[in-house]
Amino acid sequence: MPSNRLFTLLVPVVSVVMGLIAGAIIMHISGFNPIDGYSALWTGAFGDAYTIGETIRRSAPYILTGLSIAFAFRTGLFNIGAEGQVLVGWLAAVWVGLTIDAPMYIHLPLAILAAAVAGGLWAFVPGILKAKLGVHEVIVTIMMNYIALFTTNEIIRKVLTSGQTTTDTIAGSASLASEWMQSITFYSRVHYGILIALFAAAIMWFIIQRTTIGYELKSVGFNQHASRYAGMNVSKNIILSMVIAGMFAGLAGAMEGLGTYGNMSVTAGFSNLGFDGIAVALLGANTAIGVVFAAFLFGALKEGAGEMPTGAGIPTELVDIIIALIIFFVASSYIIRWVIVRFKKEGK
């Protein structure tokens, strides 16, 4: 049998290729030229410094929501609530960015921390309900999403502004925006947040793989009985896991609040960062490094999609279809493995 490591690399690559081929077939059937379509997609994502900047910017929150969901998954929990955690994190970051007056080296970390804490607190609720009462985290996180949506809207209207739909722009001392990065990318909105996201990925990897905390969290995820037997506090670990997951998602909110937009608006619906994060996590096989790659893939496809209607007359939804197919192929890696093994055998 070929080594596992090779598979973990081959499967996503093959999946992406197959997804793109399927996309080409769909384009062809619908009467579009796949080459035009994909060159538009490429231009839209990597055509020049500007789009590259935007692709990176778009990937940063995906990395973080992906990490959030992956982290929870690794410890046996399903966090559908990243969506709500993003919103409260966003709000908290902007709130601190607006109301506190401090030098940058205090203000910025404080705003980022506020986002993480808010996301963590939001996830604490499903965590504690799961740990203490056995309430299924999936329902509670879904409900918490709606609660976050309505309450953040209300706070923007009633507390952060007087009846407006968008807050003021945060103080420069709390901003992640980088004039330097913008200037080399033709004023894209790329900001320092990507560094935070990559750092967070490193943290996740470190916690999960290298620390006793990760050891306990995974153990509880695999087998609660054995964990209790081994002296671990199962409730504490469930809560901790949700809270850390929530903090990652909260940070994704900070990307938007402190980086991309510098403010927060009343929204009529979800940002989808949290839901897309599920796909990112799963594409990345719930590992930190996998999530980073998946987020970039996701970011590039979504960013490039914007160019498809103008560049080739193809509806952007085609990209959603392609992403969905890629996810299917990754999910069905069993069959891909099977084919690869077959292939190898024949080759011998």
């Binding site: 918490m144 709606y146 939804e317 279809i321 069905s332 069993y334």
Partner: protein
């Protein structure tokens, strides 16, 4: 009080019906051991198909259009759900992953085809939606008649009846016993000569049919057209209803009715004297907070079917 019930219950019923139907699909799928986060996508498919069929054939089919529309939506969504079955049953895919893909795929296909066929992001409104009716005889019952049988969509009753049918099928027939066995202990079922894969395929396809039904009923009783925002979160609420209802058809129905009731109350709240001065945001979040409280307070722990989410691979432990 009766007045409040008169306005709450019929509205709760129409709100709940699509959730009930979809949740029933979820119950079948998860009872067989296949996690189905794809309910949202299945609803999208159903809504899309229901609307498109209705728009296309309303001239030909007349008053029968909505019924045939939901039937078609049901059948095609059932076929669509085979993708989930193939991935998660035959290819041993992670069922969560496959479900997420179903959600993205359905929305992608729905909107893509809408743009292809109609040249715009949303369809027109249908001419032949469902309308409410009074149920003959029953609606004349004093008090109860006006609460339960006036101004009701037949589809709401269909949903409730189907919940009982689902209960009957799952708990009274050999098919149901086998399906549940497959979700609890597939290997035991296998050694008893039950074809695990086949049962799971059937269950997933049933969830596709019911999800499609739920989506099309939503479209034809509430939304009237299809766009990217026709189904936004209802599938996840249906999933919540499945778990809230402890994977039991009647429980899921109860949970869906609870959601409808809570939503209806939150809207009506502003015209109930007692609640008039409550800031609107509290009414808005009330349904969701109530759900959490109900779960924490007296529903508590719910155990999923033991083998839920685990691909069955013959010959492994």
């Amino acid at each position: 009080m009766i007045e409040i019930l008169q306005s709450v219950i019929p509205t709760a019923l129409f709100y709940s019906a699509p959730l009930i139907l979809t949740a029933l699909g979820g119950v079948f799928s998860e009872r067989s051991g296949v996690v189905n986060i794809g309910l949202e996508g299945l609803m999208v498919m159903g809504a899309f198909l229901g609307i498109v069929f209705n728009l296309t054939f309303s001239d030909v089919l007349g008053a029968w259009t909505p019924w045939i529309s939901i039937l078609v939506a049901m059948v095609v969504s059932a076929i669509f759900s085979i993708i989930h079955a193939v991935a998660s049953v035959s290819f041993h895919a992670s069922q969560v992953v496959s479900g997420v893909a179903i959600n993205m795929l359905a929305l992608g296909i729905g909107v893509y085809l809408t743009k292809q066929w109609y040249g715009k992001g949303q369809t027109d409104m249908v001419d032949q939606p469902f309308y409410t009716t009074n149920i003959p005889l029953l609606s004349d019952i004093p008090v109860l008649g006006s609460i339960f049988f006036q101004g009701i969509y037949i589809t709401s009753y269909l949903a409730i009846i189907l919940a009982f049918v689902a209960w009957f099928v799952l708990y009274k027939t050999p098919f149901g016993l086998r399906l549940r066995a497959v979700g609890e202990h597939p290997m035991a079922a296998d050694t008893n000569g039950i074809n695990v894969s086949r049962m799971r395929y059937i269950a997933v396809i049933l969830s596709g049919a019911l999800g499609g039904l739920g989506g099309s009923v939503f479209a034809l009783t509430i939304a009237s057209n299809f766009s990217h925002s026709t189904i936004v979160g209802q599938g996840f609420m249906a999933l919540a209803a499945v778990i809230f209802g402890k994977w039991h058809p009647l429980g899921a129905m109860g949970a869906a009715l609870f959601f409808g009731f809570a939503q209806s109350l939150s809207v009506i709240g502003s015209s109930i004297p007692l609640l008039q001065d409550v800031p609107q945001v509290f009414l808005l979040i009330a349904p969701y907070v109530l759900t959490i409280l109900a779960l924490a307070g007296f529903i508590g722990r719910a155990d999923a079917p033991r083998a839920n989410g685990e691909p069955y691979i013959k010959g492994s432990r």
